[in-house]
């Protein structure tokens, strides 16, 4: 049976739980309210001071007091403008926010000044400690601060191999803006990362990368032994470079259909006389995905002599191939239109249907379409 004592115990437990929830909600609300009132004026003063500093009003000296010393004394280095006190007086969380918020908007000398200020204020030191922490979320915060405030830090290279994918992705994103040959090699390796986020970040970084990336990508394509060859081809197609030409032609004959398909897309992006015979050959590939990419590539290149070969694909058993062929023909101008006209009366009903639909859509002839309201 249930006794009155048990009832009181249950009541007490529920009361305690409710009180804890109330205290948590309203304690947090009070803290939030206080920061919302107190932070903006302090941040505004500090932002003005920082803008002045970055504009050359007072360059922070490398001998500036660091971290706690600066905070307790409120003194800046010799030659600092008085406004610097407003930055030094800020709590750490606001200093970090102030500097990292501004970091994305400044370049050149101003960025160097900002980085020096971050060092002087102890922000970089703390970020480096965080980047070595055993806790992934601390490493993430460290990586975030380092990536926004430092152009070069060996720790960021180390974080490219971090065990946590969020930290790795942060480092990869940073690497996209700081690519040299070694970093490009690392990014190519990361295309095969076990985490989809890191693979995506590496692809994005390689697409954003400067001139250091294409030679590395071209070399990996040429060797053709990379485990992430399809992703590498995707990157190459996203940012075509003439150095990929030979490798693309060679990979168009790869035994793996997925590789042949992306190679066709890359050839379509690269263009050139040498690409045409390869693409024409791929129109007869046994895999529909390859035929589809080859037809689309020839359409993109506007290679009208291939019109009749592309038109034959209107009879292809795969809908995707027929559709790609139709759209390619529409892109080939008059020869393509002629082929569409001919195939619109074809014995094969699927070919005729696709040809008619593409004809209608290309404005060659519109049937049953509504006129726009005037």
């Amino acid at each position: 049976m249930i006794t009155t004592g048990l009832l009181y115990q249950v009541l007490l437990l529920l009361g305690l739980l409710l009180s804890a929830a109330l205290a948590a909600v309203f304690g947090h609300a009070a803290w939030l309210g206080w920061t919302r009132r107190a932070d903006p004026p302090r941040l505004a003063l500090a932002r003005a001071a920082l803008t002045n500093t970055l504009a050359g009003g007072a360059a922070p000296a490398s001998t500036a007091p660091r971290g706690d010393a600066a905070r307790t004394s409120g003194e800046g280095p010799a030659g600092s403008v008085p406004a610097d006190r407003d930055i030094v007086a800020l709590p750490d969380r606001l200093r970090r926010r102030l500097l990292s918020d501004l970091a994305g908007s400044v370049q050149g000398d101003q960025r160097q000044r900002l980085a020096r200020l971050a060092v002087d204020l102890g922000i970089i030191g703390r970020a480096q400690r965080w980047a070595r922490s055993r806790w992934w979320w601390r490493r993430l915060r460290g990586a975030h601060l380092l990536s926004s405030l430092c152009d070069e830090d060996p720790l960021m290279h180390r974080l490219l191999g971090d065990p946590h994918p969020a930290v790795r992705a942060e480092a990869i994103t940073w690497a996209g803006d700081h690519v040299d040959t070694a970093v490009a090699e690392r990014l190519v390796d990361l295309l095969a990362d076990r985490s989809p986020l890191c693979r995506h970040a590496a692809k994005d970084a390689l697409l954003r990368a400067g001139p250091a990336a294409p030679p590395v990508v071209a070399e990996h394509l040429r060797r053709g032994d990379s485990p992430n060859l399809d992703a590498l081809l995707d990157v190459a197609a996203g940012r075509p470079d003439h150095r990929y030409q030979a490798a693309a032609r060679s990979l168009a004959g790869d035994p793996r259909p997925a590789i042949r398909a992306v190679a066709a897309r890359l050839l379509g992006e690269l263009g050139g006389h040498d690409a045409i015979p390869v693409l024409e050959l791929q129109l007869t590939d046994p895999q529909p995905a390859v035929r589809e990419e080859a037809a689309a590539a020839l359409g993109r290149l506007g290679h009208w002599p291939a019109a009749s070969a592309v038109a034959r694909l209107l009879r292809d058993p795969s809908w995707d191939v027929r559709c790609a062929a139709g759209e390619a023909l529409a892109a080939l101008g008059a020869p393509g239109a002629l082929m569409l006209q001919r195939y619109s009366r074809d014995d094969d009903p699927f070919a005729a249907d696709m040809a008619r639909r593409v004809q209608q859509s290309s404005g060659l002839r519109t049937v049953g379409a509504r006129e726009p309201a005037r």
């Binding site: 529920l14 942060e170 697409l207 639909r357 209608q360 859509s361 379409a369 509504r370």
Partner: protein, 484 residues
């Protein structure tokens, strides 16, 4: 012969059984709450990373097609489409499906967005009512309008799935207010998780919030009872219910008002089912079931960020109809997928998620109703004493109050969208009060839904909305069919 003693004994046994049921259900809620807290912490910490926003804006991010069915919405369609086109996402295609409107919906779209006929070339993977025409916008190249014969919401979404070109497809209700960066937030789990088939986000209550230009500018906790209770319900359902499931076998529900799907998976699974009132849940369960059957268990993720705002019913009659329909939808989906129950072949889906929905969500109202009536009868017959009844009440409803309160703690430490102290106080008040009357009322509505399901009723019922206005005191417009 005196029957009071055996009846009393049966009632006492029943009361004990139901008390244990409540203990087990609330224990599971506690597990969900802990799981949600852990997940929220991880989410908030990860969202501090800069790469998160850069990567979803990358041109390598997946392409997304936003699918919005429209039926006789000439008055609002222009603003709705404009708001959709203003969403922040680089690879976004907006597909409006004109579901056989008999008003000027299509003409409004043609005039406002300079539509021209587009190729009727698309692969009809899902069977739908015939598509009459496709139109593409000259002013907004990423806007596509599908003109089709009337077939209902599920049919329209299927037509949209056929025509869309995005890797991901996002089904939205035309009257849902979507946060400008909602797509970015929803795409994130697709970047981080392999085998993800769908993602859902938090839907919040927009009643009495200040709205301008299709966006919620200032949030307020409604002072009216029914909508206030629903704010707590929505927070609990999304913040700790669905978020908690992220780590415990995955979700079975994604709100029809805003959900993001792997389009290829939806096409392969056969699209939305038109013959159910719970087509959103039905699709998610079917997608998950088929992914297990294909040997590649698919995941459904939940994003705790508030991504969309909706108007909830403000009258008991309309709310009752909605809950009745939800319960019928749940029953229908669970019935269609009954082979999942305790089936180890389906992993956590069959062993954890499905049984929870079956025993707690579907039969919860039955147990609760029997429990309440049984307790009253037991007290009257003297089969149980007052301390037992009090403990019973505390376990059933006191713990419910605590769960509601801790949901508010989760909200406070994550998004704290209700910013004023009076709002928080009112919200706390609703969290306590909803267990004393409102919850029992929902039990009645859900029971009604179950009974209707058993009788084979599949109608939707009419939904009356006030409509989003900048002035919350504006008069209520006419009723219309609820989009789900």
């Amino acid at each position: 012969m005196n029957l009071a003693a055996p009846v009393g004994a049966v009632l006492a046994g029943l009361d004990w059984a139901i008390l244990l049921y409540f203990l087990a259900a609330n224990g599971f809620y506690l597990l969900l709450l802990i799981s949600a807290g852990w997940e929220m912490r991880s989410y908030v910490l990860t969202s501090r990373a800069d790469s998160r926003w850069r990567l979803v804006q990358s041109r390598t991010a997946p392409t997304v097609s936003l699918l919005a069915p429209a039926h006789n919405e000439a008055a609002t369609i222009s603003d709705s489409v404009q708001a959709m086109l203003g969403l922040y996402y680089p690879n976004l295609e907006v597909v409006i499906i004109n579901d056989g409107s008999t008003d000027t919906t299509l003409d409004v779209l043609i005039g406002r967005f300079r539509l021209v006929p587009a190729p009727l070339v698309f692969r009809q993977v899902l069977a739908t009512e015939p598509v009459v025409g496709l139109h593409r916008s000259r002013s907004h190249p990423n806007l596509l309008v599908v003109d089709k014969r009337n077939g209902g919401k599920a049919d329209s979404l299927n037509a949209g799935m056929n025509v869309a070109s995005g890797q991901l497809a996002c089904a939205v209700d035309a009257d849902t207010l979507i946060e400008p960066d909602a797509i970015q937030r929803m795409v994130w789990p697709f970047l981080t998780t392999a085998n993800l088939i769908a993602a859902g986000g938090t839907i919040r209550v927009a009643n009495q919030c200040q709205i301008r230009g299709g966006r919620v500018i200032v949030t307020h906790v409604p002072r009216r009872g029914l909508s206030g209770f629903q704010v707590v319900e929505y927070l609990r359902a999304f913040l700790f219910g669905r978020l908690g499931w992220n780590r415990m076998g995955g979700n079975l529900i994604i709100s029809g008002a805003f959900g993001l799907f792997d389009r290829a998976a939806v096409l392969a699974a056969g699209g939305y089912a038109a013959n159910t009132v719970g087509e959103d849940m039905e699709l998610v369960v079917r997608l998950r079931r088929k992914s297990y059957e294909a040997g590649r268990p698919g995941l459904v993720a939940f994003v705790p960020d508030p991504v969309a705002w909706t108007e909830v019913p403000e009258t008991a009659r309309v709310l009752g109809r909605q809950r009745d329909r939800w319960q019928r939808g749940l029953a229908d989906v669970l019935w269609r997928n009954r082979k999942l129950l305790f089936n180890p072949w389906y992993g956590s889906l069959g062993l954890v998620a499905y049984p929870y929905f079956f025993f707690v969500e579907l039969f919860g109202p039955v147990v609760e109703a029997i429990g309440l009536l049984g307790l009253v009868a037991s007290l009257a017959l003297g089969a149980v004493d007052v301390p037992f009844a009090a403990v019973y009440f505390l376990v059933a409803y006191g713990l419910g109050i605590c769960m509601g309160a801790f949901t508010l703690v989760l909200e406070e430490f994550s998004f704290h969208r209700y910013e004023t102290v009076p709002d928080r106080l009112v919200l706390f008040g609703w969290a306590v009060a909803e267990n004393l009357g409102y919850r029992q009322l929902t039990v009645v509505w859900r029971l009604h839904g179950l009974i209707k399901f058993l009788r084979g009723r599949t109608d939707w019922g009419a939904m009356q909305r006030r409509g989003f206005t900048e002035d919350p005191s504006a008069p209520a417009p006419a009723s219309r069919s609820e989009p789900g």
